[in-house]
């Protein structure tokens, strides 16, 4: 089996201008949505309380909402989570009260609405772990709803996370730029990083447009994508350098076309494999990993696109010349360098 049977170099760069304009429009749209709608930050960043409640029957959302709003806790959000029986309730930070007090109050009133009472239950799991929890007991030993998870984050933690996240992003960008500049040339370094930041902004744009929850896991996914899709650009740049060295007659766009065409098979297969894994996470990973997998999916798809069109395109606009790389290639023939000439 061989998927890619390409007889001639595909003239990617002929369409570079059009595609770059499309890129720019997408990018600007993403920035626009980020600016107008903003990210729907998870409580890890904003601070507050989240609780997940599981009902025996499908939950009556409007009723739950009216009960929670009746407690006057400020702006609360009530939504389904995963299945129709699971309800997620988010409560804002309230000065003076701690998270579990709030959660306990909400749980108690939800329990009362189901004509039950909150009791402490002690039991041993089949594995022999002793567990104690507060359960909502109704008549006939039934448990109409159960508290699955609560989470409370103080406001100061959120701020710190946001700063740390920004720092991590900054360090990654700087680290990768330095690496690319050392390994290639500053033009490649700029092209690579612009292409990948373009991916990051577009992922963020998606999250802003659909108001998906932006959590720490999503941030981790974005940084992983950043590191991952840069190597896509690296592979293409490697080829560009090799082609410059081998084919002295080709013009710059032709060199880039050739480099992209000869690596396209690897690009698609590699990304496909990673995408298989991510899809498996999206399908089987459940609600907790959902947005993590979504961010990765978007990141991988745009990663392919941006390394081919944006990164290579920018290198072309920046006017890369054979002379830029000749110096580098001279160094590359260092007999002590085991990686000399290693390309795909």
């Amino acid at each position: 089996m061989e998927f890619f049977r390409i007889r001639r170099d595909i003239p990617f760069m002929r369409h570079a201008l059009v595609l770059n304009v499309i890129s720019l429009v997408t990018f600007l749209a993403a920035v626009f949505f980020l600016a107008t709608r903003g990210l729907h930050l998870s409580i890890e960043f904003t601070g507050g309380t989240v609780m997940e409640v599981e009902y025996q029957q499908a939950a009556d959302l409007p009723k739950v909402r009216s009960i929670v709003e009746g407690l006057n806790l400020g702006e609360v959000q009530v939504q389904n989570f995963g299945t129709s029986r699971d309800v997620m309730i988010r409560l804002p930070v309230r000065p003076g009260t701690t998270g579990s007090d709030l959660a306990a109050r909400v749980f108690a009133s939800l329990c009362q609405a189901q004509s039950g009472q909150v009791q402490a239950r002690q039991y041993t799991t089949p594995q022999g772990e002793s567990v104690s929890r507060s359960a909502c007991a109704a008549s006939g030993n039934a448990e109409p709803l159960a508290l699955k998870r609560t989470e409370f984050v103080g406001p100061s933690v959120g701020e710190e996370l946001a700063t740390d996240g920004a720092l991590a992003l900054g360090m990654t960008v700087i680290g990768i730029m330095i690496y690319l500049a050392l390994r290639f040339e500053w033009k490649f370094s700029i092209a690579g990083i612009v292409a990948n930041l373009h991916d990051v902004v577009i992922i963020l744009g998606f999250f802003a447009f659909f108001q998906w929850e932006f959590s720490l896991a999503v941030l981790a996914a974005i940084l992983a994508v950043l590191g991952y899709s840069v190597n896509e650009s690296v592979v293409i740049f490697d080829r560009v350098r090799e082609t410059f060295r081998k084919m002295r007659r080709m013009s710059t766009p032709e060199v880039i076309d050739h480099a992209i065409t000869s690596t396209i098979s690897r690009t698609v297969i590699t990304h496909g494999s990673t995408q298989i894994m991510v899809l498996s996470m999206l399908i089987f990973g459940g609600a907790t990993l959902h947005y993590f997998a979504v961010a990765l999916t978007i990141g991988i798809l745009f990663g392919i696109y941006s390394s081919i069109f944006v990164a290579a395109g920018i290198v072309m606009w920046l006017g890369v010349k054979r002379e830029d790389l000749v110096k580098v290639t001279a160094k590359d023939h260092d007999p002590d360098d085991p990686n000399a000439g290693a390309v795909v």
């Binding site: 089996m1 049977r5 998270g99 579990s100 959660a103 402490a120 041993t124 799991t125 022999g128 772990e129 002793s130 929890r133 507060s134 508290l147 998870r149 609560t150 409370f152 984050v153 103080g154 740390d164 991590a168 992003l169 360090m171 990654t172 680290g175 690496y179 390994r183 720490l216 896991a217 981790a220 992983a224 590191g227 991952y228 690296v234 592979v235 490697d238 690897r266 590699t270 496909g272 494999s273 990673t274 995408q275 298989i276 894994m277 991510v278 899809l279 498996s280 996470m281 399908i283 089987f284 990973g285 459940g286 907790t288 990993l289 993590f292 997998a293 990686n339 290693a342 390309v343 795909v344």
Partner: protein, 628 residues
Amino acid sequence: MNRYPWWKYAILAASLVIGLLYTLPNFFGEAPAVQVSSAKATIKVDVAMVERVQKALASAQIQADFVQFDGNSVKARLQDTDTQIKAKDAIAKALNADPADPHYIVALNLLSRSPTWMARIRALPMYLGLDLRGGVHFLMQVDMKSALTKKTESLTGDVRTLLRDKNIRHAGITRSGNSIEVRFRDAATLAAARNLLADQQPDMVWQEQPDGSEPRLVGALKPEATRAVQDQAVKQNITTLHNRVNELGVAEPVIQQQGLDRVVVQLPGVQDTAKAKDIIGRTATLELRMVNESAEAREAFAGGSVPFGSERYVDREGAPIIVYRQVVITGDCLTDAQPGFDSQTQEPKIDLTVDARCGRIMRDVSRENIGKRMAILLFERGKGEVVTAPVIRAELGNRFQISGRMTTVEANDQALLLRAGSLAAPMEIIEEKTIGPSLGAENIDKGFDSVTYGLIAIAVFMCGYYLLFGVFSTLALGLNVLLLIALLSMLQATLTLPGIAAIALTLGMAIDANVLINERVREELRGGASPQIAIQAGYERAWGTILDSNVTTLIAGLALLAFGSGPVRGFAIVHCLGILTSMFSAVVFSRGLVNLWYGRQKRLKSVSIGQVWRPAGEVSSSGATRED
């Protein structure tokens, strides 16, 4: 040309064996166990407890797999949950004479079902994070400002006493923020005071501020002293938390310092946050009282009535002691307790430091009571116990020592107890999570499913597309999983859901290296190279690109590791380790397999790497058959 020397194969075989060995414990599951730990700060569980537990089990005719001591608790592994509960009752009955006031906590727990020889070579299963096992998580912030204020406050008192003792007249001492301000009437006294303070208060830096008619001396804590105070505050709070959490009977609580001033408390299995917080937030108190040694009090030992104004307590050995109700000083003014050695007798001792106010009381009381005993009592959960009751040998000041009749270990323990009586600085809960046990089990299943199905899909694709080379790549990927899990088990890392996600993602990315190699080998074949040369060149040339791509991924991983906390950190650790193992398995191991298969064949005509298409139009069919 495609041959490895024997030692390379040996390394590959060894890594495979080690990978298998250390991954294995994770699949044995967990067996019910009973855990015995101390219920009181004054009681320590040691190796002797193993025998007591064994005896208790034997007398109840319960067969345990083994009973072992690990650090601060004794665990007995049992066959099933029924015997577990029976064993718990039997042990509790044997150890705790009075159920209302238990000396030991007997709790149900889980132990790995893996054979004992595995535990002996430290092949232990990974520890499951709270999100996979259920429980509560607290992140607590230690109020460093008040720890420093407390320290400065006590130093202010010290300075006041010091100046008075040396008859240096000052015009007032005040504390403002974390600095001490001493005013003087003239420069001469200031100079004298400065010399004295620089000499006697090594923790502070003093600066003169000539301010009009009243020259001032301003002292601030040295940076290293500040750090020491903060460090000690966190350490002391962690010790105190340990003592309190022990009472909850939680199987494996995690209490760790995070960052400079934070403490993470994780209690698996506990769902009741209110109770957990109640216990964590409770304070224990320390009191110093005089021992009543009158004839009436001695009679009370035998069970007679306690004299008026006195109370009966027991010491750590269980012997009764009669002490006066009147409290000499409380633990609030104890600023430090450190174990050490007496320079003259070479006996272990404990150095105690109290603040100036209590120092004065101690001096007055001790002067009048030389030769008598003073008891140090620790009150926990409303019950008091005598930690130690030494005899007063001389007049005491704000620094004094307890020595005699104790070993170094005892001195260490008692110093810890004295310090751990209360929190060094108040703590505030800034993050709190509860995860239900069912959600934890669900998360494990989902994480496991996504890794398995993803892996199967990739394996099917690789084997279909690259045929035998795909099989090699898949085997290499399998080894990668094995090595990654083995490495995480060896490090005893905590596996969380983001960690599982990182395993999945790393595997998806790891296949990249094999795709690069296989594509390159195909390309060499397409260029007309002979199979052996194509294999050689494919691996050699792909290596540079593999290194490049892994370095960029690693940069992002390290940034996450450096700046991430909590779930992100778990993700980053697995991600970084996975990149390292994948370089080994994808390049070295898969090459080893290829060499083993093809390397010996001298006249190799074709390799099974799938169809290699040549643009000229002539279709080569090197893939269909391995060799013909």
